[in-house]
């Protein structure tokens, strides 16, 4: 049982440590020293998937899974570009509002109809893709507001950009809510044991609506910032962002069983994934090796996490030491 505390912190810490060490050691392979630009680039990669990872991770902590985030990500980016041609702030706000609304509707369906989150969010993902095509006519839409594009990616303090700082701020906000408020404890409680939470007096349904509203908001914000940065919005980002976000959340110590995970853990997970991609870029390794690295890292984490391994250890312990009852 003690393992439960360790994993929540150990898994993300181990993942981040491993990747940071590898990152620092890359000059040994490439022969050229690391620059602040490499760190900036890694943080840009973090900004690209961080908010998605946070959205997915948050729903996992509460014992749910939101597949629709990648749809909201696409729609958010599309709406931000279309509504933000003259005012980027307006575009951002509209995109976030739509994301929140999409999340709220899904949360309401899941909570009050008591249906599992996977089919609901899968259906929403497909519907949102359709919506993104409908808005754009199936083509990438160019963002002509050059000032906004330049602003979101300008360097701040050498390694940051407004985009990565906003992403970090979202993590800090979620960390404060999860760790220091009644709402945070209740979200983790409904992920850990829903029946017990209900008996204790937690209003589970309301919390679920809020949860999906939040994940929708975060995903739309992530999509909007990305399309500002690319100066274009793509109606179909594919499934890759979702998969990478899920990998980041798992590396961040969240469990599909729910109840486990912290915002700092998710941050570590997202940073690990971004750094790993940057290592591949700096070392001029072929692009596909990123995927192999993700898979390997995830495999290690899943093994640490597995009840089978724990059970085997328990059995060995029972056999070696005849336990007094």
């Amino acid at each position: 049982m003690r393992a439960a505390i360790r994993q929540e912190r150990l898994v993300p810490a181990a993942a981040l440590l491993l990747v940071v060490v590898a990152f620092v050691l890359t000059p040994l392979g490439t022969g050229s020293p690391l620059t602040t630009f490499d760190v900036y680039n890694a943080l840009q990669g973090f900004a690209q998937i961080g908010l998605l990872a946070l959205a997915v991770g948050l729903t996992m902590i509460a014992g749910e899974f939101d597949l629709s985030v990648v749809g909201t990500y696409a729609v958010g980016g599309m709406i931000a570009v279309q509504a933000g041609q003259s005012s980027a702030v307006l575009g951002l706000l509209v995109a976030v509002a739509v994301g929140a609304a999409v999340g709220a509707v899904q949360g309401a369906l899941i909570a009050w109809l008591r249906v599992p989150s996977v089919p609901v969010t899968l259906a929403a993902y497909i519907a949102l893709l359709g919506l993104a095509y409908a808005i754009s006519g199936g083509l990438s839409v160019t963002f002509t507001n050059r000032d906004a594009t330049l602003w979101v990616d300008q360097t701040v303090a050498g390694v940051f950009s407004p985009r990565s700082l906003l992403t970090l701020a979202a993590f800090v906000l979620v960390a404060v809510v999860l760790g220091g408020t009644r709402l945070g404890a209740e979200l983790r409680a409904i992920g850990g044991d829903r029946r017990a939470s209900r008996v204790a007096g937690v209003r589970v349904e309301r919390k679920l609506v809020l949860l999906f509203t939040t994940s929708g908001t975060l995903a739309a914000l992530g999509g909007a910032l990305l399309s500002f940065s690319f100066a274009s919005a793509n109606p179909d980002p594919g499934l890759r962002p979702l998969l990478i976000a899920a990998v980041a959340a798992l590396l961040g110590g969240a469990s599909l069983a729910g109840g486990r995970g912290t915002a700092t853990g998710l941050l570590a997970g997202a940073l690990s994934v971004a750094l790993l991609a940057q290592i591949v870029a700096v070392a001029y390794l072929p692009d596909y090796s990123t995927q192999l690295f993700y898979a390997a890292l995830l495999a290690v984490v899943v093994a640490i996490d597995s009840p089978g391994l724990r059970r085997a250890l328990e059995r060995v312990r029972a056999r070696t030491r005849p336990v007094e009852a």
Partner: protein, 499 residues
């Protein structure tokens, strides 16, 4: 203070047409500790769920401090000052002790004021004798007893007028129970009304001022604890002595057919269990929650990976540390959790009946549909299930028929020699119960070893050819069938030393 704090007035509730509570009335005054006693199924828990806002009554009313209370939800109940320690553990392992203490508390501040909360939590833990625990510790790292104490501390900390404790001491040791009693007395002295549900009769008489006994959903008696003894209580709870299903068969003298269990142990749950169970006999393990009775069965069925000891069946050692090993040796287990560890509820009756013998129904990887149908039909007949329901999902059946499917699944299989059942008639109505008892008796007559665990005295007396009473992970005593119910009850609740 005028009049009682809690008035329960002619409360009634049925489930699917079966009445669970019928016109139950009692009152609890401020500062009074009031016990609710009765067998499993007597209606105690239903009364508790209605009082705590988890279940709406069909009829009757609850009056709190002179005002009729409409307890629509846990939140409403809490706002009206009703705190609950649930029968099942309701602390969340994924949260810390401190977070659990304030979880669901409507008075908790939105943003945790850490220092004040930690101080308050510390005080509550110390009061409960939990000075070893830290407020920031995850509940997952606590023992079951400690978790229960945390939950009790939580309920007592809420500014409640009425505190309900549903079996708070079932999993606690003697010393831990003492601390709970002290805390309960403190709360009552503050002017709260306390409703205390327990199976442990001596502790009821020691702690409580007044006792209400329920039987079959009705109130039998309400009396001051001082006027009662354990034996009088048992008489009230029992009603008349149940009728016994006699066996006509002599026990199988061939020891190789017997299930021989030696020094079975499960760390923290079962101290030591030895039994030679002969074929053709029904063995009853009598024990309350936490007594180890159900752990014996679970260990034999391969569900306790850390169990040790030796188990022999048909001259072969049973590999009882995994469910597959147990099943291969010919041990079939009917869990007390039909939903979690038993049936495929959304699948048809026929599929459930044949689910554990698919390899006998065809060649190689293929299942012969015709043979599957015939087998299902004959098993349904054997188990007394309506043949026209074979295609319906198990979910649509009554509790009694669901249980027949579960038992029927293990019948008529030449490779099954031992049938283990944990609470064989939990959630089953009277008619279904008699039918299931008949099934078990028939299985024993057919030469199986049958071992079941139950907390219900009637069931133990009706079925057991040999009755083993258990408490605190040990066998208290062994009796032949037809033993005195009061003696069994005393063993289960007090053990030997208290007698």
């Amino acid at each position: 203070m005028s009049g009682p704090l809690v008035v329960v007035d002619a409360l009634a509730r049925s489930f699917a047409g079966v009445p669970a509570v019928r016109e139950v009335s009692f009152t609890v005054g401020a500062g009074e500790i009031h016990a609710l006693c009765g067998h499993n199924g007597a209606g105690k828990s239903t009364v508790v769920r209605m009082l705590s806002g988890q279940l709406a009554p069909d009829a009757g009313r609850i009056v709190l401090d002179g005002e009729a209370a409409d307890l629509r939800s846990r939140q409403v109940a809490q706002r009206l000052g009703v705190a609950l320690v649930d029968q099942e553990l309701s602390v969340v392992p994924a949260l810390t002790v401190l977070e659990n203490m304030t979880l669901g508390d409507i008075d908790a501040p939105l943003v945790t004021r850490r220092r004040a909360a930690v101080r308050r939590c510390r005080e509550l833990l110390d009061e409960m004798g939990l000075d070893r625990l830290r407020p920031g510790q995850l509940v997952a790292t606590l023992s079951m007893g400690e978790r229960q104490l945390v939950e009790i501390a939580k309920a007592l900390s809420q500014r409640a007028r009425v505190v309900i404790l549903d079996e708070p001491t079932a999993t606690l040791s003697e010393a831990e129970s003492r601390r709970v009693f002290a805390a309960v007395r403190r709360v009552a002295a503050r002017g709260c009304a306390v409703i205390f549900v327990s199976h442990r009769l001596p502790e009821v008489l020691e702690l409580c001022d007044t006792v209400t006994v329920l039987r079959d959903g009705r109130r039998v008696v309400t009396a001051p604890a001082a006027d009662l003894t354990v034996d009088r209580l048992i008489v009230h709870m029992l009603g008349e002595t149940p009728h016994r299903l006699e066996t006509s068969r002599r026990p199988d003298p061939d020891l190789t057919h017997a299930l021989r269990i030696e020094h079975l142990r499960v760390p923290g749950r079962l101290a030591d269990f030895t039994l030679t169970a002969r074929a053709g006999r029904i063995y009853a393990l009598a024990g309350q929650l936490g007594s180890g009775a159900s752990d014996v069965l679970r260990a034999l069925a391969g569900l306790h990976a850390r169990a040790t000891g030796s188990v022999q069946l048909r001259d072969r050692a049973v590999a009882f540390r995994s469910p597959v090993g147990a099943a291969r040796a010919g041990i079939a287990f009917v869990s007390n959790d039909r939903k979690g560890e038993g049936l495929f509820l959304d699948k048809p009756v026929a599929g459930n009946l044949v689910a554990t013998r698919l390899d006998r129904l065809g060649r190689g990887p293929l299942v012969a549909a015709g043979r599957e149908r015939r087998t299902a039909r004959s098993l349904a007949e054997l188990a007394g299930l309506p043949p026209d329901r074979l295609a319906d999902p198990v979910l649509t059946l009554s509790g009694g028929n669901q249980q027949k499917v579960f038992v029927g699944r293990s019948l008529g299989r030449p490779d099954v020699h031992v049938l283990l059942l944990d609470e064989p008639t939990r959630g089953v109505d009277i008619g279904g119960r008699a039918a299931i008892h008949r099934l078990l008796r028939d299985a024993a007559e057919a030469g199986l070893v049958v071992v079941f665990a139950s907390t219900e005295l009637e069931e133990l007396l009706e079925l057991g050819d040999v009755i083993l009473t258990m408490r605190d992970g040990r066998v208290v005593d062994t009796y032949p069938g037809g033993a005195d119910g009061a003696v069994l009850m005393r063993d289960m609740t007090e053990g030997k030393d208290a007698a």
